[in-house]
Structures are given as structure tokens and as C-alpha cells.
């Protein structure tokens, strides 16, 4: 008997999709026989907009490229401009940058936890973790004035001095989060029903994964300790102590465990930053005037490790005050197409949201 194949669109209006994108699924019963990713619902043409803005104007919009974790964008932009214009950043500013990036990473992991637990109907974890993420956003607000978009890491340094007592408050928050992470272990990571759902689902494995350009938890979840903070260090990461957690199973649960360990590592890094940050020092270098801030006709590539994987910027100057070309490469582009599509084939419909969340697919960075 021939079984009927139906085609459905999982998204863009669907509670189980990570943002505004869609996956076209061919289903036989509830088993997926073919998957196609569709993006473009969030395309804003950032790369075009940046071509017609001066560096300072462009700085204000880059953070909007990826919404859950905007700071790697700012860091990338600043690093690329500094490298092209030959600007050195002071040590204190670098420490503050590391601090901001790690706080953002922690926030993004907490947000991921909400999505991952939501995808298996464990809403309680999401309610708790978004609350905890909000406490981080409160600190961001004290530091930068913005909850979500910070516009803080600026070429030449950072934009503002730390407010009084900021490091103490951060330290107190870290103590609190450390305790909360144990609660999450009990409720989420060690929960037998979550393990039952996540183990053996969405398995990525083999030597081949290195050649396919994956990054982040996908690699670390199948045994490769790849982390740009260690492999290709930027800022002050080569002076900080931290481990790169890995798992060997390569499934959804392995990636979740990697993220669980990464949250603890972020806290560890933040504690070191608090201890080592110089008390005094400039946070901002003297920059050329707005209209005179030009980039030479050269190009470069910088990449940082975001909460989901390698986030790279290609930047080319042309001697004018505008940036000739800035191309963004988020980890999601490869994950959403050349990883997700084959990974979904043969899975059940109920695992689509689970797998998408574990890959951390973030549509705004795919299409910019």
C-alpha cells in the first residue's frame, strides 16, 4: 500500500520554531521524509545599510543583527575596525569587554534553556531561567543604559565607565546564579523525562563534522574541544583560565550538557575578570573625528565565539569614512541549512523543535 506524504510548513507562525523562520516538512505519518529550511522573514539588508553609514553610525546598528546575544556583534565590529585602523585597546577596556561578552553568553544560555525546556513542554524551567536572565539584563541596564541592545563595545574601547559598586553587584549575582544552576540541574538536566526525550535524538557524529564548518556546541557535543576563545584567542582570553567542556554522544542531550558546563565556566571566567580587572586605566582611546575616521583599503576577518558557535565578520575598507563591505557569518547559517535539513530526516515531528533549539538556530543572523 502506498502511504500518503503530506507537506506541512513548520513555521513561521508556530510556537515550536526558534524565531521567525520555517521548515517545510514532508511527513509520512509523523515521520519526516524531507526537510527544507526557509528563511528571509527577517532580512533587513544590514550589509547594505552599513555600506552607506559612517563607522559611528554603523556601530549603532550592528548589535541588532542577532537579538538573543547582541554583544558578539559589537565585539566583532570593534575588533575589525581596530585591526584595520590600527587602534590598540587598553587592558582595562579589554577586561570590561570580556566581562560584557561573558555576561551576554550567560544570558543567552539561560534564554536557550527556556527554549529547550519549552520545546519539551517543561515550561517551569523557562519561567525560572528567563527571570534569572532578567537579573543579568538589569546589570546591563546599569552598565549601558539598555536591556537588550547595549551599543557598548565601541571601536577604541568601551563607551562608559563602570558604575559605582558594579563589580560587587555582579559578584553577588554570580553567587546567586551558581545556586540557581544547581536547581536547574535537578529540575531540567537530571530530569528523567527530559533525558528520555533528548538522549539519542538529533545525533551528529564523525570526523566529517569538522570539514562541514560546524562550530560551537555541535562540535563540542561530539567530542571536539573547539572553542575560538582558546583556539584563536581574542581580547584577553589567553590570560584567563577556563575549561572547554565536551561530550561524546553528539545528541541533543550531549549539547545540553555542554551548555550546562559552559554556564559554570562563564561564571568562573567572570570571577577571574572581577579579581584581575585593573582599578584604574583609560577605557577609551582617542579616536579621529567622526568624519575623519576612515579605514584603509584593506580587509580582514575576525571571529569570536558566541553562545552558539563561531561568529565571524569580514570587513573591507576602501579609504573612505564608510565601510566598503562587511559580511556577517553567524553559526546558524550553516547549522540551519546543511546540518538541520539532513538531521531532521527520519525524525518524528515532535522532535523538530527539540533539535532546532539544541542547535541554537537564530534566524536574524542567518539572513541579516
Amino acid at each position: 500500500m502506498e502511504r500518503k506524504v503530506i507537506t506541512i510548513y513548520h513555521g513561521p507562525q508556530h510556537p515550536g520554531i526558534t524565531g521567525n523562520m520555517s521548515v517545510e516538512l514532508d511527513l509520512m505519518g509523523e515521520t519526516i521524509t524531507r526537510a527544507r529550511t526557509h528563511v528571509g522573514y527577517l532580512h533587513r539588508g544590514f550589509e547594505k545599510l552599513i555600506e552607506r553609514r559612517t563607522i559611528i553610525q554603523a556601530f549603532t546598528i550592528v548589535c541588532r543583527i542577532c537579538v538573543p546575544e547582541p554583544d558578539p556583534n559589537e565585539a566583532n565590529f570593534a575588533l575589525a575596525v581596530e585591526r584595520l585602523a590600527g587602534i590598540e585597546v587598553s587592558e582595562r577596556a579589554s577586561y570590561i569587554r570580556v566581562m560584557v561578552l561573558e555576561m551576554a553568553r550567560l544570558g543567552a544560555q539561560l534564554l536557550w534553556m527556556a527554549g529547550q525546556s519549552g520545546s519539551v513542554g517543561l515550561g517551569t524551567v523557562g519561567q525560572w531561567s528567563i527571570y534569572d536572565r532578567d537579573l543579568i539584563l538589569d546589570l546591563f541596564e546599569q552598565l549601558t543604559g539598555g536591556r537588550v541592545y547595549h551599543m557598548y563595545i565601541y571601536p577604541g574601547g568601551v563607551r562608559r565607565e563602570l558604575p559605582d559598586g558594579f563589580l560587587e553587584r555582579l559578584s553577588a549575582l554570580l553567587d546567586y546564579l551558581q545556586k540557581r544552576l544547581d536547581a536547574y540541574d535537578r529540575l531540567f538536566f537530571d530530569n528523567a523525562s527530559f533525558q528520555k526525550r533528548a538522549i539519542g535524538v538529533g545525533v551528529v557524529r564523525g570526523e566529517e563534522v569538522l570539514r562541514r564548518g560546524f562550530s560551537g556546541q555541535v562540535l563540542r557535543g561530539c567530542g571536539f574541544a573547539r572553542d575560538l576563545r582558546r583556539d584563536n584567542p581574542y581580547l584577553l582570553y589567553d590570560q584567563l583560565e577556563f575549561d572547554i567542556p565536551t561530550q561524546s554522544a553528539g545528541d541533543v542531550y550531549a549539547r545540553a550538557l555542554v551548555r550546562r558546563a559552559e554556564m559554570r565556566e562563564s561564571i568562573r571566567i567572570l570571577r577571574q575578570v572581577i579579581a584581575q580587572m585593573p582599578e584604574e586605566g583609560a577605557i577609551m582611546q582617542k579616536l579621529p573625528k567622526h568624519r575623519k575616521f576612515t579605514l584603509p583599503k584593506e580587509d580582514t576577518y575576525v571571529a569570536v565565539e558566541s553562545a552558539r558557535g563561531e561568529f565571524g565578520y569580514y570587513m573591507a575598507g576602501d579609504g573612505s569614512e564608510m565601510i566598503r563591505r562587511m559580511q556577517v557569518k553567524g553559526p546558524s547559517l550553516i547549522h540551519a541549512f546543511s546540518l538541520l535539513e539532513p538531521l531532521l530526516v527520519g525524525e518524528e515531528l515532535s522532535n523538530v523543535a527539540l533539535i532546532m533549539n539544541s542547535l541554537g538556530i537564530c534566524p536574524p543572523e542567518i539572513e541579516r
Binding site: 507562525q13 521567525n20 527577517l42 541588532r64 528567563i130
Partner: protein, 204 residues
Amino acid sequence: MDEGFIPYQQSLEDEEQSIKSTQSVIEQAIAWFRAHSMFVLAYGTGCGAIEMPPTFTSRYDIERLGVVGVATPRQADILIVSGYCSPKTLKRVIRSYEQMSEPKYIIGLGSCTINGGMYWDSYNTIKKLDDFLPVDMYVNGCMPRPEALIEGFVKLQEKIRANSSEAGYIQYRTRYAHYRANQERLFGTQVQPRYEENFAGMNL
């Protein structure tokens, strides 16, 4: 309508006392129930969607006001257009809006829905949401904080209780030609079926 955004927003937020006083008791009761039970369609159209989880969870807990998320447009009363809309998204948003059953309301979240915001010169985002869909309440900011979104809901509650004849869904019926013309102009050849074809004969 006056020119500019501020008087326009003012007209959205004004409580229409005169109309309210002419309502019968039953009408007022119905309006009260509508205002205190708002089902929001879970469709994060743009980056404003990032402030919706905090709004809906323990920190801000908008469920206190009777606002909950629902999965499908059929069950929803309120559509939040959260931020910039590319034409490709707008098509889906219009489709979702037309599937909702009346009375239905739209909240435009973020500066991008008002005037394009950061993306005023982007070739792929619309600049004025109320050209294409009737917006009942705008919440400005980039990002609007959760408090701002809650404020928007409270203002919308007032508007629902006033039971105005200028509510968005009534305008969408009466001035459909206007909205449709704008949609057709933007989408060109790739337009979707007309709204009448969706709601013809479905009135109970």
C-alpha cells in the same frame, strides 16, 4: 486625523467616554470580559519578540491582566507585530490576522512598525504598518521594555472597553479597499486571496 505620529498615537490612546456612556449594561459587561481576557497570537515577527518572554514569564507576569499566549490564529484576539516587518513576513502577518476571528486587535511593537526605525532606509522592511493593517495600539522604543508593553496592553484594555466604532477590525472591513490597495502595491504580482473570500458566509 492630524499629521505626524504623536497626534495619531494620542487618538489611539484616547478613552472615548461619550461612546461608553451610551452603552447598555450588557454591552459594557461584554466589553469588560473582552478587555480582561486577551489571547495573544504567539508569532514573534521581529526582534521585539525577545522582550516578550520576560513579559509573559515570572518577572513581569502579564497573565495577571488576563493576557495569555495561544498557538493558533483562530483562537487569538490580539496580534503583536513585534518590530520590523519585511514584505515576506508581512504577507504571513496579514494571513494570520485575517484568520483571527473578530473582535481582534493589533499591537505594533517597536519603532520599526511606526516609521521604520533603525531600518528607515532598508529596502526590505516596511515603514508604516498602519498602511497595511489597522493598528490599534503602538508601543514605541527599540526595544520597548516589558513595562512599556504592559502599558500598551492597559491602554488597549481601555480602548476595548470603550467599544469604539473605530476599532481596527471594523476599519479593516469598512476600509478594506484602502488596505488592499496598499498591500497590492507592495506585493505586486504575489498577492494573496482577498479578505472577503476568507470571511464570506462565515458569520454566525
